[in-house]
Symmetry: C2
Subunit: 241 residues, 2 copies
């Protein structure tokens, strides 16, 4: 194997991955399996960019960040599993906000299962505010952790994979002209949008909008990787490597 | 910017990109603009993974490799622009081989435009054999260069972008379990296929199947980058980075 690949792997993995890959697993001890099964059922027809794998990755990040930040892991675990159950409704009708819809569905679901109202309200707040839009701001530590974890899944290597899968789903060009200057607005017309533009106008700003310090630390590393990937892509498209 | 990102960029770009990004442009001097326009028209409804951008990248690589290997750049340029004009037919009917169909279309197209028969036969051979299947082997230097250039666009950063766009187009999971052992067959059932499996069973072998030495040099670098990307992706999905 090339020396520079070994060097790259060492740089990125040595002090982070190997020391950090054990997640806190609160699933078995706190949440009934039936709740997770019900949550999962909402993703039967989900597209690859927002499927159950996304939920599980966000859950893992929540457990990691939540533990470091001292959050209530029971509330957080429940909120993570349920945070996107409203997404299918938004995809069928764009006037629906999946965060609000998800919060509403979670409220009913958890009440039916006999959870205490205090617990339910904490979970519902996390879900309702995980988009950080429409004046719905994350006010609790658990809500801030969920917000960070959800955004972290949009950057780094997984962010690249998801951005290009989205391009495939929506028929976007993969490599527009890299030199072209972009405006700062996210065009609704997907034919003129691309993963590179998405990075420039939106994803590159995630690292500066994190709400927890551990989220910020991870975001900076993921952003650096994503940025280097796009540089490499540009070089391959404009030159020969 | 992080030091390791600067290091990464230096490793990958310093001695390659900056010294190599000027392509030979034979388009203006040899091929009529009308031919390129006709070729481009075949890609009006193309999916992002096999669109006109792919053709232009393959053309660029052909010019670079062809110049180093001493190939006939006029034949190569023409073959590169026309190599995938049969792809739309294969997508509508999988019994059609796009290489054979493209060769047949190119034959008629070039004859109608008054190209000499010797030139046409050289171009047609490149197009017919660029898949290296069904006993159709690239026998000329130009055909070998086109084969290498076409395969190079499936690996490296652009290979990652295309593999994930394909996953989005075909509803594949983005990150299956990395530990899972794969068989060596390319399943037709796309629901069980993924970019990671595609790399393991197919794309990782491209570097060993190059037909020119410059193609092999580029393939090794692109493969190293793609392999490192997938390692990083695995680490993000299994741990926290």
């Amino acid at each position: 194997m090339h020396l520079y690949v070994l060097a790259l792997q060492r740089m990125f993995f040595k002090k982070t991955y190997k020391q950090r890959h054990v997640f806190v697993n609160v699933k078995a001890s706190v949440l009934p399996e039936s709740l997770i099964r019900i949550a999962r059922d909402y993703f039967d027809d989900a597209r690859p960019t927002h499927d159950w794998d996304h939920v599980e990755r966000v859950h893992n990040l929540c457990m990691h960040i939540g533990r470091i930040e001292g959050a209530d892991l029971e509330v957080l675990s429940c909120a993570a599993y349920l945070h996107d159950i409203g997404r299918g409704f938004e995809e069928r009708d764009i006037s629906v906000c999946h965060a609000r819809k998800g919060a509403q569905l979670a409220q009913g679901l958890l009440a039916d299962m006999g959870f205490e109202d205090t617990f339910i309200q904490k979970v519902v707040h996390c879900i309702a505010t995980h988009r950080f839009r429409d004046g719905l701001m994350p006010e609790t530590l658990e809500a801030r952790v969920l917000y960070d974890a959800d955004k972290l899944d949009a950057i780094g290597a997984i962010g690249i994979a998801r951005a290009y899968a989205y391009a495939g789903e929506h028929n976007q060009r993969l490599v527009e002209e890299f030199e072209r200057e972009h405006g700062d607005d996210l065009a609704v017309d997907h034919t003129s949008h691309s993963p590179i533009k998405e990075y420039k106008v939106k994803l590159s700003k995630i690292k500066d909008r994190m709400l927890t310090s551990e989220g910020r630390r991870i975001a900076e590393k993921r952003d650096a990787f994503m940025s280097a990937f796009l540089e490499r892509l540009r070089a391959e498209c404009e030159g020969v490597i």
